[in-house]
């Protein structure tokens, strides 16, 4: 018999941040590439919306606009978790070995090591994607300063900052490919509803995130079922 009770994993705030950052990042990649002379050359301008994409100034507006949104979400995210002292997703010692073991287990279909709220590779993915986004935000701001009439950024700084901004873009794209590719594994797909409804199946959490499951707070149990974790555990184990 299947247990269809849910565990609350992602607050509304987290979901808004994730999708806010995801959408603005995608727009920043599209408009960032649009700031490079490539849409005309590679005939992207011949596709629908091509004319819009082919205009450097449109792409600059879009880049600035999505940068403003991204910065809002990034700073909101950093500070809300800092104020609320929530650090579940920060990388820990031994995460690299641990993620290797998890990926190996997924491929060989064997038993995974027990995980907390986030898998070790999720914490690494977070640090990698987050680090690149932060680099892009910092270098992006310097690039914006350079565009102001009143500011003269020294040439050497301008060249370095531009190259870091471009390199971080490439790394971020690799990171995002990895992020999406993670869902090729069936095991990981069970996490997807968490980013939409906020909830995960209890069975999944119990098996895959056993450390987190042991320490669930009342808040994290779906109250719409009107049961506590102990009752749930009892019910599932008696089945």
């Amino acid at each position: 018999m299947e247990n269809n009770r849910k565990i609350i994993r992602q607050s509304l705030s987290n979901r808004i941040v994730h999708w806010g950052i995801a959408i603005s990042t995608i727009l920043l990649i599209v408009s960032g590439f649009g700031n490079m002379p490539m849409y005309k050359r590679y005939n992207i301008v011949k596709l629908p919306f091509g004319e819009f994409l082919g205009s450097f100034i449109n792409m600059l507006y879009l880049h600035y606009l999505s940068a403003a949104f991204l910065c809002f979400f990034v700073f909101y995210h950093l500070f809300v978790h800092y104020f609320a002292k929530e650090f579940d997703i920060l990388p820990r010692k031994g995460d690299v070995t641990q993620s290797f073991l998890i990926i190996k287990a997924m491929i060989t279909k064997s038993q995974e090591p027990p995980s907390d709220k986030y898998l070790a590779e999720q914490r690494i993915a977070y640090a990698f994607i987050g680090g690149n986004v932060l680099t892009l935000v910092i270098t992006g701001f310097i690039k914006m300063l350079k565009n102001l009439d009143s500011i003269n950024i020294p040439n050497s700084i301008n060249t370095i900052v531009t190259n870091i901004h471009n390199a971080a873009t490439m790394l971020l794209i690799l990171g995002l490919i990895g992020h999406i590719a993670a869902f090729i594994f069936k095991e990981n797909r069970k996490m997807i509803p968490g980013m939409f409804t906020g909830k995960l199946d209890e069975d999944y959490v119990k098996h895959r995130h056993s450390i987190w499951y042991e320490n669930l707070t009342d808040d994290e149990i779906d109250v719409s079922n009107n049961v506590t974790k102990e009752e749930k555990k009892f019910e599932t184990s008696s089945m």
């Binding site: 490079m36 450097f56 600035y64 979400f73 809300v80 104020f83 609320a84 102001l148 040439n155």
Partner: protein
């Protein structure tokens, strides 16, 4: 008129001061240093004096420029002259190095001619050396530099030849040569297109305290060189005396090149448009003189400010949400 200039200068400096004070000490110091060493040079191109060197085959400034810069012109690897995939074309001027009637990678200045109200006007054309150069700001490789003299220079070792600078320059000044530069070392058929070339204000001469070659070679003294602020004043004085017009002080947010003319630039531009447009569009390397060109980079300043406010808004929202959450936890506990 001087009022408008003062106000603009004032605005520029006060925003500079405001933003500089926000910056960290080190960056602030760099900027302050760059500012203090800055001694902006400029030229007045007096269209009432230039006659296009009617008696010479090629105008003297054009000859002087190409002689002075011959060692900077592109040296092409013939094997790499291939179309820019997937486009069928590539830009090669190496077979036409002698062309002097337009801008090319091998010809950084030329003298255009128009007839307005029965009078022939000769117009030396080249890079204007803009104050907030759009080519520089929007180069995706940071390959364009502005020197303390105000000279805007393309670094031929960093340029990939995507020609974005030409697209965003209001006068489409930089010109591309395929088969040279850093792109040849990566994946020449698929990325990059060569190197962009244009007038560099004779940057090396300026660094030695000398004047640009086109200035010293002009037999009519039609190109005046000097301190920018002085020349700015001077060109308006001259314009007032002759009831004439100035082009280049306001355009693209300000440049280091002031054209002086008795005939309105709108009329000159109408003529230029007729001559320099073909059925396929504008003729490459033959710039127009569109009046009142606004600087595209200035139009994003407001958006930059919103992006600067966004982090603060994010932090405030975070504080609000976190405090509500903590309060909620407390009441839950009761």
């Amino acid at each position: 008129m001087s009022n408008g200039i003062n106000r603009r200068e004032f605005l520029k400096r006060s925003t500079a001061a405001g933003i500089a004070s926000v910056l960290t000490l080190t960056v602030g110091n760099e900027i302050a240093k760059a500012e203090s060493e800055l001694s902006n040079k400029a030229t007045i191109i007096d269209l009432t004096k230039c006659d296009g060197c009617v008696n010479l085959g090629t105008p003297a400034c054009v000859t002087a420029c190409s002689k002075k810069n011959s060692d900077k012109f592109p040296v092409v690897n013939e094997e790499l002259l291939k179309p820019y995939w997937p486009q069928p074309k590539f830009e090669d001027h190496s077979k036409n190095k002698d062309i002097t009637d337009r801008l090319t990678p091998y010809n950084w200045t030329f003298v255009d001619k128009v007839e307005v109200d029965g009078e022939i006007i000769s117009i030396p054309r080249r890079c204007m050396h803009c104050d907030n150069a759009t080519c520089l700001g929007m180069c995706p490789f940071g390959a364009i530099e502005k020197e303390n003299s105000g000279a805007v220079c393309i670094n031929d070792e960093l340029c990939f030849g995507g020609a974005k600078c030409r697209d965003v320059c209001p006068w489409s000044i930089p010109q591309r040569q395929a088969g040279v530069g850093i792109y040849t070392k990566i994946a020449p058929e698929y990325i990059g297109g060569g190197v962009m070339y244009k007038c560099d204000f004779c940057s090396d001469l300026l660094k030695n305290g000398q004047k640009p070659a086109c200035v010293t070679s002009c037999p009519k003294n039609a190109i005046i060189f000097g301190e920018k602020e002085e020349l700015r004043k001077k060109v308006y004085e001259l314009a007032k005396e002759m009831n004439g017009f100035v082009y280049g002080d306001k355009e693209n947010g300000g440049t280091s090149t002031f054209y002086l003319s008795k005939i309105p630039f709108e009329k000159i531009n109408d003529q230029l448009k007729k001559q320099n447009t073909s059925p396929e569009g504008p003729i490459m390397g033959r710039p127009l003189m569109e009046p009142e060109i606004e600087n595209k980079l200035d139009t994003v300043t407001g958006m930059a400010i919103s992006a600067a406010i966004a982090p603060i808004a994010g932090i405030i929202t975070a504080g609000y949400v976190a405090s509500k959450r903590l309060k909620g936890e407390k009441t839950d506990g009761k």
